[in-house]
Symmetry: C2
Subunit: 332 residues, 2 copies
Amino acid sequence: MKEAKYDVVGIGNAIVDIIARCDEAFLSNHGMEKGFMQLIDASQADVLYEGMGSATEQSGGSVANSCAGIASFGGKCGFIGRVAVDQFGKVFAHDIRAIGVDYDTPASDVGLPTARCLVLVTDDGERTMNTFLGASTELVESDIDAKLIASAQVTYLEGYLFDRPEAKAAFHQAAKLAREAGGKVALSLSDAFCVDRHREDFLALVRGGVDILFANETEITSLYEMNNFDDAAGAVRAEAEIAVLTRSEEGAVIISGNETIQVPAVRVEKVVDATGAGDLYAAGFLYGLTSGKPLEVCGKLGALAASEIISHIGARPEADLKKLASAKGLLE
Amino acid sequence: MKEAKYDVVGIGNAIVDIIARCDEAFLSNHGMEKGFMQLIDASQADVLYEGMGSATEQSGGSVANSCAGIASFGGKCGFIGRVAVDQFGKVFAHDIRAIGVDYDTPASDVGLPTARCLVLVTDDGERTMNTFLGASTELVESDIDAKLIASAQVTYLEGYLFDRPEAKAAFHQAAKLAREAGGKVALSLSDAFCVDRHREDFLALVRGGVDILFANETEITSLYEMNNFDDAAGAVRAEAEIAVLTRSEEGAVIISGNETIQVPAVRVEKVVDATGAGDLYAAGFLYGLTSGKPLEVCGKLGALAASEIISHIGARPEADLKKLASAKGLLE
C-alpha cells in the first residue's frame, strides 16, 4: 500500500449508544428482530426509551467504533461524521478524540439532535439496535475533506450511510477521491436488512470499486440472495479484491483471489454484549492490513479485537489493543 | 416505624456520572485528592473532560443511587432533585424511573445544564470525583413536596446538598416536615472535605434531629476532628439514634444506644470501581430498616449491595438486589 499520513479514514454515522438489558419478550413485544438494526424516528425513540430499563451511555457508530479500535492498536485514523451541538455530540467528539482519532467534522447548530442508538442486550449477549439518525443525516458533501481522504491508505465506508439518500453522494465522492489518490476503498455491509434495502447499490459498488469488503454471514447471503454461505463466498470471490466474511463463533473466512484463509474466533468465557463485534473485527483487520501484515495475521488481529469487545458492555475497547496483540505475539 | 406509602424519600443532587479510567499521575497532575470529591465550575469541567480518556455515562448522585438501590431491593422510593431540560436530564429521569423510583421534580428550562460528575477510576478501583452541580443548584423550597415527605417512613438527605447555600433551606424544611409527620430523618455525610466545609451545620443537625447517620471512617473522624475511629464512634454514640459507620473492606460498625454491631464486608474478587459503595450500603441498610429487620440484617443487606456495586463500573445496581439478598437468605 501507499505511504500515507493516515492508515484509515472512516466515514460513518456519529452515534451515542444507549444500552440496556432486556428479555426476549421485550423484543417481540416491540416488534424487533433480534440481532438486527432498525431505523426509528424521534417519537419512536421516545416511546421505546420510556419502556426500556436503566441504561448506560457510550459512544458508538459502526465505522467510528472501528476507527477507535484501529487507534487502540496504535494506528493513525481520521473520522468523518456529523453530530449536533448538544451533550451527546460532546460525548461522541470527546470519546473518539480521546482514543486518538482525528475528528473535525463541524457540529450542526441547527436541526436534529445527535444520533442515538437504543441498544437492547439479551441474556445471550446478542444486541438488537434501534437507531435514530438525527444529526448524522446532516452530513453533506462539503464535509468530505478531500485532503484527509487523499492522505489515507484506506477510506472505510459504513453501509448504514446508504440509509440516508443525502449521504450517498458524499459516499460516492469519497470513494472517487480515495481511488484518485491511489488509496483503497473498504466497505462494511453493516446489516442484512440494510443490504436488503440497498442491494443494487451495494452490488454496483462491490463490482465497481470496493477493494475490501466486510460482511457477516447474513449480510453476504442477503447481498447475493443465496441461501448458502459457501455459494455467497464463491460469488464474492469473483468481485472483490479482498472479502472478509465473519461468522461469529465459527470465526472468519478471508477470500482474496484464489486464496481462502480460515481464521478461528478467539474464545471468550462469556459473551456479555455482542455490540461492536463486527466493527472491531474490521478494526483489527484494517490495522493489520495497513501495517503490512499477511492476511492471516490481519484476520487474527480482527478476531482478537472482536473477543475483547464482546467481553464487556459497549462497542469501544476497554483494553489497550496494542498491548493485547503484542502479548499474543501478533505484533513484533 | 410508621406505616407509610413510601419506605424512603431521598433528596439529593441529580447527576449524570461521566466515568473514565486514569493513572495516579493524572490525579496528581490535576490537583485531585484520590478518593474524594471536589466541586468544579463549568470551565474547569470542560478542561478536565478534555484531558480525560474515553468515558461511559451513567446516572449517579449519591442519594439518587441509594434510592435506585432501595427500589432494586423492592422498596418503595421517591426522589427529589433537579435536572435541566437537556439530554443528561432525560437520562437521569429515565434511569431513576426505570428502576421504579417515583421522580417528579420539574426540569429547569432556563439556567444551568444538568449536573455532571467527572469520575476518575484508578487501577485499584478507587474513584475520585469532580462535580459540576449545574441545574442541581436550582432546587428550591417549593420542590420539597410536603405530601411526599409526609408519606415516607424515612426522609434521606444528602450531605453534598450543603455545598449549595440555596438548598440548605430546602434541606431544613424537609427535615422539619418529616419529623412533624412522624417520620425518621437520615443523613449521609457524603465526603470528608464536605464535612470539613460544613462541620458546624452537620454537628447541629446530628445533635438536633437526625435519626440515622451514615458516614465512612474519614467522614466521622472529620466531623468530630478526632484522629481515631474509636473515639469518633464513641462521640457519635451519644448524639445519633443510629450511626452506620462504614470502613471499606473492614466492614461496618452500627452504633445504637448501648449496642455496637460489627458487620463484615462481603468480599469481592476484584474492586472494579468503588463509585457508589457508600450509597449502596445506605440503600441496603435503609431497605432493611424500613422492612423491620434487625440492625445486623440491615448491615448485611448494606454490605451485600455495596459488594455488587463495586464489582462493576458505575454506581447503579446491575443485578436485582432483591434476588441477590434472597439467595443469601437475608430476606424471607
